[in-house]
């Protein structure tokens, strides 16, 4: 029977980062991917922040098929009948090395798999991992496509649902509270039109997040990223929030309503939707992380819950890449010791704790609870919109003084509520 050093379930960013690192260190690695090609089942918003992972894969970035480097950041508070936008651009975003890039996963993951294969990793596509093989309480391989495949260690990189970690007994299915669903269209548009429309030069890109009516006031938000020849436009909605709001439109209609908003429709005018995608996203932060390792098994990327929304930045892919890298390092260490048991693999957790990955998750452990305050989504966009509507208004008669106008919106009760919200925000 064939035995590998490591079997990796899933050729996404975590799995491929692990495969690239392990194969680069001479280990025999098998990556199993259920799609026709790596990336075929993967969905992102999305954008990759390169800074935290640049040095983990120094040879990768100069040739990586990324889309556009992001030089503009937008945040739009979307009220029912108006909206308030923050537009940020800074020269540091234009300076190399660029901090973040828009990305399309079918292209990127396929390329990353080629890099891992060039290092010696073996990739089998169209193969679904059906179960793990457990002997004496230890994971010693997987069942896939009717075959029994054995390895010293298995790395579960099979995405947010991680049926592999469930089969291994590491976790139970998660609760609605900790997950959101992302729904996205990729809208093809001429690069010149994108540049003119978004005030971009050549390969510069823009990223914009929308809060409030983008999701009909439900927990979540909208997003827009410019790719080379397309726009990724979508919404992310907390599953629990959608469940509890029975009056809300169906999930697909929420995206259509967002597209029809006057803030959005001119941006995608003339574009052709070329793909419609959806995926669940971990949103629970540190408190909802799954166990990261077990006897003979490690868990990385979305499978472990490694995605983090802190309002202005929404991140997951660099945590996937880094956790794949550190899972590989842990396996290398375990191989040195000749022991792939629980205790030996626990060094993975230590590596993640010493790295930006779990440092970020711990720093922002309160973010999911604080951001779930419905006032941020339902109240502040309306409040700021109302304030600006009054400030900009020139009536037929005389205009009121500004201060009393502001006080009409910022009443004492309102300011007291804001003080309480602010006190909560200081926990982030």
């Amino acid at each position: 029977m064939e035995k590998f050093d490591v079997i990796i379930a899933g050729a996404g960013l975590a799995g491929l980062a692990a495969a690239y690192t392990l194969a680069g260190n001479g280990l025999e690695v098998l990556v199993l991917e259920r799609g026709d090609y790596p990336g075929a089942k993967n969905v992102t918003g999305g954008r990759l922040y390169v800074n935290p992972v640049r040095d983990l894969f120094p040879e990768l970035w100069h040739k990586a098929p990324l889309e556009r480097f992001i030089v503009q950041e937008g945040a739009v508070l979307m009220a029912k009948e108006r909206s308030v936008a923050i537009h940020y651009s800074g020269h540091e975003l234009r300076a190399e090395p660029h901090q973040s890039y828009s990305i399309l996963r079918a292209k990127f993951d396929r390329w990353l798999a080629e890099q891992a294969e060039a290092k010696g990793a073996m990739l089998l596509t169209r193969v679904r991992v059906d179960d793990v093989i457990k002997e004496d309480g230890r994971i010693v391989g997987v069942l896939a496509g009717g075959d029994e495949l054995r390895a010293d260690a298995v790395i579960a990189c099979d995405g947010v649902l991680s049926l592999v970690s469930e089969k291994a007994g590491l976790r139970a299915p998660g609760s609605c509270h900790d997950y959101a669903v992302g729904i996205k269209e990729v809208i093809a548009l001429d690069p010149g039109v994108i540049n003119d429309r978004f005030h971009l030069e050549e390969n510069e890109g823009t990223a914009c997040l929308f809060i409030g009516e983008a999701t009909h006031g439900l927990f979540g938000g909208g997003f827009l990223y410019t790719n080379k020849e397309s726009i990724s436009l979508g919404i992310v909605i907390g599953i629990e929030s959608l469940l509890e709001t029975e009056s809300s439109p169906d999930a697909p209609a929420l995206l259509d309503a967002f597209k029809q908003r006057p803030e959005i429709s001119p941006l995608i005018r003339g574009g052709t939707t070329v793909e419609y995608a959806a995926h669940v996203i971990p949103e629970g932060g540190f408190k909802a992380l799954s166990p990261l390792y077990g006897n003979g098994i490690l868990v990385a990327g979305d499978a472990a819950g490694l995605a983090l929304n802190i309002g202005f930045t929404v991140r997951g892919m660099e945590y996937a890449l880094a956790s794949g890298y550190y899972a590989a390092q842990a396996v290398l260490k375990a191989k040195e010791a000749g022991n792939f048991g629980n205790e030996s693999l626990s060094i993975y957790q230590q590596y993640l704790e010493e790295s930006f990955v779990l440092k970020d998750f711990k720093s922002f452990r309160e973010a999911p609870a604080v951001l779930s305050n419905p006032r941020f989504i339902q109240h502040y966009p309306e409040l700021l919109g109302d304030l600006l509507a009054e400030i900009y208004r020139v009536p037929t008669g005389p205009k009121d003084r500004l201060y009393p106008t502001i006080r009409k919106v910022f009443t004492l009760a309102e300011m007291w509520s804001q003080f309480k919200d602010l006190r909560e925000v200081t926990r982030i």
């Binding site: 079918a106 599953i239 959806a278």
Partner: protein, 94 residues
């Protein structure tokens, strides 16, 4: 276009490879479970619908494999697997 026609048109843009057995099934006897009524609203591909009998019906063609219904309905209601390797949605952009 009605909402459902619009959604069908969008799903028509995606590449799907046919497989064998449906990979998600409503467990027998659970067809009227209220969690399935929620799935009608939440499924991004609109694959759940109510029949005149009150039973919820799942049409698997067009499944985006997003996982939402697994969170909404849970294991009691749905027998949930990913489709066999090399079948189901194949994102070209992602």
């Amino acid at each position: 276009m009605s909402d459902s026609e619009l959604l069908k048109a969008k799903l028509g843009l995606d590449v799907f490879k046919p497989g064998g057995e449906p990979h998600i099934k409503i467990r027998p006897g659970m067809e009227k479970d209220p969690r399935l009524l929620q799935a009608i609203r939440l499924c991004p591909a609109g694959l759940y619908s109510a029949a005149q009998t009150g039973d919820v019906v799942l049409t698997i063609d067009g499944c985006l494999e997003c996982g939402t219904c697994r969170y909404v309905c849970g294991d009691e209601v749905l027998q949930w697997h990913y489709p066999e390797g090399g079948t189901g949605v194949q994102f070209r952009f992602g």
